[in-house]
């Protein structure tokens, strides 16, 4: 379980998060949504232990989230963070050596699923295939929590669809929890259990996606717009 209690994060003078409290139960796919600059990425980085809260606590399975929490958390950055002169295979090798929970067999299956050429250099991959490779090395880790910052952004519909299908195929919801941020609400909606809506560093709403459809007769996009304008 992930627990945030009264978490504030300040970057110099700017408040990115303003005293948020949040609990995320295991076994779900959770979408963190909100406008640009609302605090989504900051929240993920705090859970991944890449940032420290200015105030409040962040716990992952009862442990304070610091750099060592990466044993439990796989984090997919929205930036490209590997060596561009490596081949696909060397990139996978590096991840395998870095993380003891890395499942090589699963990574190989995913490389096939994503149709990635193992001998190609990362710098020669298309943006779409770099996106796919990032997904492969993140999901091949057998950790209880997977955090993904904008896994779909800037990618074409075919790549987005293969990433969504890859997520469903290779995640084990009996053992894993996924938290992702995205603006591609329409595409991601059928994949989510729960959405958390953030605005200006504050949590506006937290709701089950099926309940939004059932009780408010709204798609996720319409719901978000409505809540933002209130």
């Amino acid at each position: 379980m992930i627990q945030l209690e009264g978490v504030t994060k300040r970057y110099l003078t700017k408040k990115a998060l303003d005293g948020i409290s949040l609990q995320i139960e295991p076994g779900h796919i959770v979408g963190l949504i909100g406008s640009n600059g609302s605090g989504k990425s900051t929240t993920l980085k705090l859970i991944a232990g890449l940032l420290r809260p200015t105030r409040g606590t962040v716990l992952v399975d009862g442990e304070i989230a610091n750099r060592r929490i990466c044993r439990k958390v796989a984090y997919l950055s929205e930036l490209d963070t590997y060596y561009s002169f490596f081949t696909v295979k060397q990139t996978v090798d590096l991840y395998e050596q870095t993380f003891i929970d890395f499942n090589r067999k699963k990574a190989e299956e995913m490389l096939d699923f994503m149709k990635l050429d193992r001998s190609q250099k990362v710098k020669h991959l298309s943006k779409g295939n770099r996106g796919r490779l990032k997904i492969v090395v993140t999901l091949a880790r057998e950790v209880p929590f997977i955090l993904m910052d904008e896994p779909l952004s800037g990618l074409d519909p075919m790549v987005r669809s293969s990433i969504i299908k890859g997520l469903i195929s290779f995640i084990d919801l009996e053992k894993q929890t996924v938290i992702l941020t995205t603006h591609e609400l329409q595409e991601i909606e059928p994949l989510l259990d729960t959405v958390i809506l953030i605005k200006n560093g504050v949590i506006l709403e937290r709701e089950s996606v099926e309940d939004i459809r059932c009780n408010e007769n709204l798609s996720l996009v319409d719901w978000m717009v409505e809540k933002y304008e209130q």
Binding site: K165, I168, E210, S219
Partner: protein, 125 residues
């Protein structure tokens, strides 16, 4: 290929309808095994938890039954399937009638129109 979903109806219910329609059209036969939760989820690009809920819903209405360690199977009880067929018919009729009424057609007009339509249709064939 994944079809898109109606945004204002819960996805698990829409999946239920799709499976029921497949059973009624005979695409999935009596006693046949449904795809595993994961395969169904991948196929329709939805959350596996949602598919699980769909299967539970179908199980509750007796349309499918879970066999331990083997999967989920369509019932072989013809009465349940007949009932499902009947319900689907009624729900389509209800929709048709309520839309016709909204436009101001009387029952006699509807019946006559339906009969005419079916007669000419059958002549065509």
């Amino acid at each position: 290929m994944a079809q898109s979903f109606n945004p204002s109806v819960p996805i698990y219910l829409q999946l239920c309808e799709r499976i029921k329609n497949k059973i009624i059209r005979g695409e999935i036969g009596m006693g046949e095994r449904l795809p595993s939760v994961r395969d169904m989820a991948i196929d329709s690009s939805v959350n596996p938890n949602t598919v699980q809920r769909t299967y539970r819903e179908l199980e509750d209405s007796g349309i499918v039954a879970k066999k331990r360690g083997q999967g989920t199977f369509v019932t072989e009880d013809p009465r349940i399937l007949e009932k499902m067929r009947e319900e689907l018919k009624i729900s389509h009729i209800r929709l048709f009638v309520s839309e016709m009424r909204e436009m101001g057609y009387s029952s006699t007009e509807m019946l006559a129109g339906l009969k005419d339509y079916l007669d000419t249709k059958e002549e065509d064939q």
